[in-house]
């Protein structure tokens, strides 16, 4: 490490021993995931726990689709935080804006990867999904609106938001100077430029809020429009997906912010205020989701019969009950913690972080409960009960994708400041 780079903020370009160890672990995990996927690619999806519905008594969508929904759900935060800063002028959450946007971009890339590992003919899919795209399929929205549109918009945001900092850093000599100069693209920080910048991001924020709702609803429609699957066919599916996306996204953002605060010793920048705001916002999202869950529960149990009852019995008292009640617990406990803090104004960082972690468990398990039981217990013809348990290949592939996402994040931290550089910093405005 050179003396020049030490002047870069937030440990950009500084490789510590812990960081290298972490990257090594991530690479190992990616290797295991890559090997598992190699097995799946060469031998076919027989190596997964997935099987056909009906006479084969399995679930044909499993862990991959669960994590597709989870990853895309995480992307909720980047755009919503960026929009809130621009539209509501929430200046105090500015330090988390860039990490939220980075998380969004990475989560969307992971979502796209999860689709590719799920399909049986990935190479063909890369061509045919564009060549023969059918807007009538609910999947169409997942590729266009969510992955393409959303990813594009988040990248633009990340880029625009970083231009000022890149311009500041480009003035310092060092290894990354060319890169910062490229990013800044001639930005100097003149008042006229600032005004144009602000205007551009303001109008983009306005345009992007409808996209936020539509994109997450689209993913809900993948399930909610299927009349032939009890448990999926529901008008609530789309708004529920939006709410749960927010819950998991903000939960994970809290965890990431806490880790960065610890690692970069950024207690001052990522102060209690930021976490209080995040915690309170998470609380409102949890309330919205719990409300949907109660409505869903009443509708499913009050009068239904047939396959609908078979799915809800499996959920509430049967095979999946432990998972269902785990979800309820991991939503109610954070909710209790956050409400207590909100009412008595006694905030504790550890509680907020624990809440963020717990709601992510809830989010993964709940997605599993959305995807799987309707396939194993929800056949309308009397096929009997099916079963699904993921194999090590599926776990390894998902873990590998997770590791890849984390690797992208930690690499980004080392080439670009993960938080905005303070106004009065040297070389600044």
């Amino acid at each position: 490490m050179t003396t020049q780079n030490e002047t870069l903020p937030y440990e950009v370009g500084r490789l510590t021993r812990g960081w290298i160890a972490m990257v090594a672990v991530l690479l190992i995990l990616m290797g295991v995931g890559g090997y598992a996927y190699y097995l799946q690619f060469t031998q076919g999806e027989i190596v997964t726990g997935l099987r056909n519905l009906g006479t084969m008594g399995g679930a044909t969508w499993g862990l991959y689709i669960v994590f597709l929904v989870y990853f895309i759900g995480l992307s909720f935060t980047g755009i919503s935080i960026a929009a809130m800063i621009r539209l509501l002028g929430l200046e105090k959450i500015k330090p988390i804006a860039r990490m939220a946007e980075t998380m969004t971009v990475i989560a969307l890339i992971l979502g796209a990867m999860t689709i590719m590992v799920d399909v049986g003919q990935p190479l063909r899919a890369m061509v045919n999904l564009f060549r023969y795209a059918r807007p009538g399929s609910p999947f169409f929205g997942t590729f266009t609106l969510v992955i393409a549109g959303y990813l594009f918009a988040s990248q633009i945001y990340l880029y625009l938001d970083g231009r000022r900092d890149a311009a500041i850093l480009a003035k310092k000599p060092g290894r990354f100077q060319r890169f910062f100069r490229l990013w800044a693209a001639g930005y100097k920080g003149t008042p006229a430029e600032k005004k144009r910048h602000n205007q551009a991001s303001f109008w983009m924020a306005i345009a992007i809020v409808p996209l936020l709702i539509t994109a997450h609803s689209t993913l809900g429609f993948v399930f909610g429009l299927q009349a032939g699957r009890p448990g999926w066919f529901s008008a609530l599916q789309a708004p529920e997906f939006v709410a749960l996306a927010g819950v998991s996204g903000f939960g994970l953002l809290i965890c990431i912010a806490a880790i960065i605060r610890k690692v970069l010793n950024a207690e001052e920048k990522l102060n209690q205020d930021v976490f209080e705001w995040l915690g309170n916002f998470l609380m409102f999202l949890i309330v919205a989701y719990l409300y949907f869950m109660v409505v869903e529960w009443l509708t499913a149990t009050y009068s239904s019969g047939g396959a609908e009852a078979s799915v809800s019995n499996a959920l509430f008292t049967g095979e999946y009950a432990w998972m269902y009640w785990l979800t309820v617990a991991t939503l109610l406990i954070p909710f209790g913690l956050l409400v207590y803090q909100f009412i008595f104004k006694r905030y504790r960082l550890a509680w907020i972080v624990a809440s963020g972690f717990m709601v992510n468990i809830a989010a993964v398990v709940k997605r599993y409960l959305i995807v799987v039981p309707s396939q194993t217990h929800g056949t309308l013809l009397p096929y009997g009960i099916g079963s699904y348990s993921p194999t090590w290949v599926e776990y390894a592939v998902v873990l590998g994708i997770f590791a890849f996402g984390t690797l992208m994040f930690v690499l980004f931290i080392k080439i670009f400041p993960i938080m905005n550089i303070p106004e009065n910093s040297e070389g600044g405005e």
């Binding site: 031998q43 076919g44 999806e45 027989i46 997935l50 099987r51 056909n52 519905l53 009906g54 006479t55 084969m56 008594g57 399995g58 044909t60 969508w61 689709i115 799920d118 399909v119 049986g120 003919q121 990935p122 063909r124 899919a125 045919n128 999904l129 060549r131 023969y132 795209a133 059918r134 009538g136 399929s137 609910p138 999947f139 169409f140 590729f143 993948v222 299927q226 009349a227 032939g228 699957r229 019969g305 047939g306 396939q375 056949t379 309308l380 013809l381 009397p382 096929y383 009997g384």
Partner: protein
Amino acid sequence: MTRYGMVIDLNRCTGCRACMTACKVENNTPQANFWMNVFRFEENEYPNTRVWFMPRPCMHCNNAACVKVCPTGARFKREDGLTLTDWERCIGCRYCEVACPYGVNYFNWKAPEENQYLDWDDAELVTELGNDGLPYANPDLELSYGPEDRFTAGGGHYKGVVEKCTFCVHRLENDLIPACADNCPTDVINFGDLDDPSSKVSMLLGEKPSYRLLEDVGTDPNVYYIGGTPPNSETRQIEEIKVRV
């Protein structure tokens, strides 16, 4: 317009499953895939028990859920009412499978040579076969059919694509009826043009009350059942077909 459909007479069905065998032989379907499946049902308790059988091909719905959700148009409706899969275009996302309320779609989890009813570990047998592949392979399945000229018959059951009952499109093109209908010993499965008032299927529907499976889902199937009632919540499956590969 031609609209192919089936009228299945449950009164005649003895549950012999000859149609399932015919389908397997004709279409070389992989292990544990049953494009035609015969349910064996029982209802009520002794002394009122009733046992009955219900063949379940693909319903070739007019408003097919699988066609609507397919992201690439690999699953499509043909002019003559067939709902077919283009195995050259399918990407294997299995959305059709979760959308279909009847559970008729089968994904190929393995490579075709590992998925067939043949002991490929038996070296002697494999040498004997030489390069000819399966001794019972039907060459018609690999051809393209119809005005669209698409690969819609069974194909080679390639890894990573979804397949299902084709109403034996390769036989229809040669003026034959589907293998299951042809092979039924008791004339349960009637196949023909539902839009032609003088066809046997139209006559049967005119004579007898009929139902279609899960009509309330709105799929508008082209397979009709006569001489029975639909399965209900009291219907239990006996000698259930549940095979995992």
